[in-house]
Amino acid sequence: MIEISHVNKWYSPTFQVLTDCTTNVTKGEVVVVCGPSGSGKSTLIKCVNALEPFQSGDILVDGTKVNDPKTDLPKLRSRVGMVFQHFELFPHLKIIDNLCLAQEKVLGRGHDKAQAKGMQLLERVGLKEQAQKFPAQLSGGQQQRVAIARALAMDPIVMLFDEPTSALDPEMVSEVLDVMVDLAREGMTMMVVTHEMGFARKVANRVIFMDRGEIVEDAAKDDFFGKPRSDRAQKFLSKILSH
Amino acid sequence: MLGNLDFDVIRRALPYLFYEGMTFTLTLTFLAALGGLIFGTALALMRLSGFKILGRIAGIYVDFMRSLPLVLVIFWFYFLVPYIGQWVTGASRPISVGAFTSSLVTFIMFEAAYFSEIMRAGIQSISRGQPAAASALGLTYAQSMRYVVLPQAFRNMLPVLITQTIVLFQDTSLVYVLSITDFLGAASKVAQRDGRLVEMYLFAAVVYFTISCIASYGVRRLQARIAIIR
């Protein structure tokens, strides 16, 4: 589904953020990407739907090369759902309109059909009653669930999560993770940048550990948590699991 | 069309344009900026002082000036200043004041309203701890303003103050409505005399543009330097 091969990215000639990153996510797989801050994990996931450009290497999503100038990026992006750290709901639109905007303007769905789809997804994330409210009237956890529903409304073939819980107050983390766990169990292909190792243990198939722009470890979940091969991953794990 | 333009008319008029016109414009700009800044700072201090009435008066003055077109204010003072002069000097009839004095009074009074808003923002941007620290050291209110708050406010606001002065420099061209020989007035007089409007107005535009551009480039450089120091 996602094939990343030998991706290199520089912010400036002397500052390389991604070094020779190679991995893939197959259909139905849940891959968790972790690593210390500044390790390039967010940058990598943003390269997948070309929100960030990269200088060399290739990324294919469902067989389409994202770094090919001929690729219809809006079309490709509409099939890749993305959830951001800071939710990024559109503050001037009601919740339901946040879900309908791209359905109507990108997929060309009729208003009624988009509304129906939106309401169905809001019900699924447990926020049907909030449909007519504005984003600023919701809690962070609720906003993030809306953001997930907004991405799902596009019927994506894969979902990307960029630290979806790290801007949330602790008591709201689980309501978002629950939605993500359900999604994973239904067989959604997911690439998730997160520090939530509980989530990784529960549903991940593979865990990728990144540090200083490199993929240091790329292992099946049990192998990763059982016996991480690299020192850096071991250190990271001991820090993050010690509390 | 551009073909039959006579740019020599500009060269011949240069001494007049710059010695008379530009000297007037720059002197007016400089003195009005200075006066406007002093009066404007006073207005800002009045607004921020604890005295409600003082603050009210200053606020009304600033809002009033900012609601009126500069052209109208220029007319107002042009007719008013002789009467003010009579009142101040106790003369028996309105005294005649020169074009320069009249314009200078106008621009100081008008710009003070704008400078006062800038200085007010500058003073408010200083953290409350600063005057508190100053009074803890035993400085009086006036001393803490004079030595602690105002210097910082002034430095923080320097780029905005200069930008406002560039606007003022351009606005002085409006004394044209009183037929005064500022830079544009001089250009206009030559233009009418020689029937060379296109050449003279294009030249005036280029001169204003060049000076303002260089000054605003300087402001951007200054802002970049201040940003680094912070």
């Binding site: 890749v80 800071h86 559109f90 984003p135 | 069309m1 109208l72």
Partner: protein, 243 residues
């Protein structure tokens, strides 16, 4: 003050035979408002286009936006009006120049266009600041949903940016009204112009200018009140502007 006050002057007939002096001033006010309205339309449209250009990733668009703003901001409005009024007809091809010179209401059109373009540079600067103040993630979220750049601006960035810059736009609109007074120099008989002619005909300097002053203050008050209502009307529930 040895000045002969005569407040009854407003109800005496003016020498043009167009009613009283008060009628004269009111017709000036009407022309001020008409000129300002047209100028504001021009300023909003061109200013918005230029403001958007300054926020685009394209270097060319950026440079154009920068040059545009510098061009209109670094020349006195009066000089710009002279360029439109005296210079433009001369440097155009003969036929076009002649047509321009014979245009009825030339001072009105020149004033509206001249003030409009002058103000457009300020609108552009405000809009650019408004767009830049939005979180970077908003644009990313729009892009990730498959919205094109145009759609992203139309449905996501501009609705928010305009709400944010509504207060500074109010002052720019007031500046537009005030700036039409500069057109007295090209013979536009707007409010200040009519007050000036009233003074020349009747010698009642202070009555004429007092009346004009009051009318400007009234216009200001009306605009400010109207904009307050507009601000309240477009306010987003729960969203605190300025964060």
């Amino acid at each position: 003050m040895n000045y002969n006050w005569n407040w009854g002057i407003f109800f005496q007939p003016n020498p043009m035979g167009t009613g009283t002096y008060l009628d004269m001033l009111l017709s000036g006010l009407a022309l001020t408002l008409k000129t300002a309205a047209l100028a504001w339309v021009i300023a909003l449209i061109t200013g918005s286009i230029v403001g958007v250009m300054r926020t685009l990733p394209s270097k060319g668009a950026n440079w154009f936006g920068f040059a545009y703003v510098e061009f209109f901001r670094n020349m006195p409005l009066l000089v710009q009006l002279f360029l439109w009024f005296f210079v433009l007809p001369e440097i155009l091809p003969r036929a076009a120049g002649l047509w321009l010179k014979q245009l009825p209401n030339a001072p009105f059109w020149t004033a509206a266009i001249g003030v409009g373009f002058f103000m457009s540079a300020r609108v552009a600067v405000q809009l650019q600041a408004g767009i830049s103040s939005l979180p970077r993630g908003q644009k990313m979220a729009a892009t990730a949903l498959g919205l094109t750049t145009v759609q992203g601006y139309r449905y996501v960035l501009l609705p928010m940016a305009f709400r944010i810059i509504l207060p500074p736009l109010t002052s720019e609109f007031l500046n537009t009204i005030k700036n039409t007074a500069v057109a007295i120099t090209i013979g536009l008989l707007e409010l200040t112009g009519q007050a000036r002619s009233m003074q020349e005909f009747s010698f009642q300097v202070f009555e004429a200018f007092t009346a004009a002053t009051i009318l400007y203050l009234l216009v200001n008050a009306v605009v400010v009140t109207a904009m307050r209502f507009l601000e309240r009307w477009v306010a987003i529930p729960g969203y605190i502007t300025g964060k």
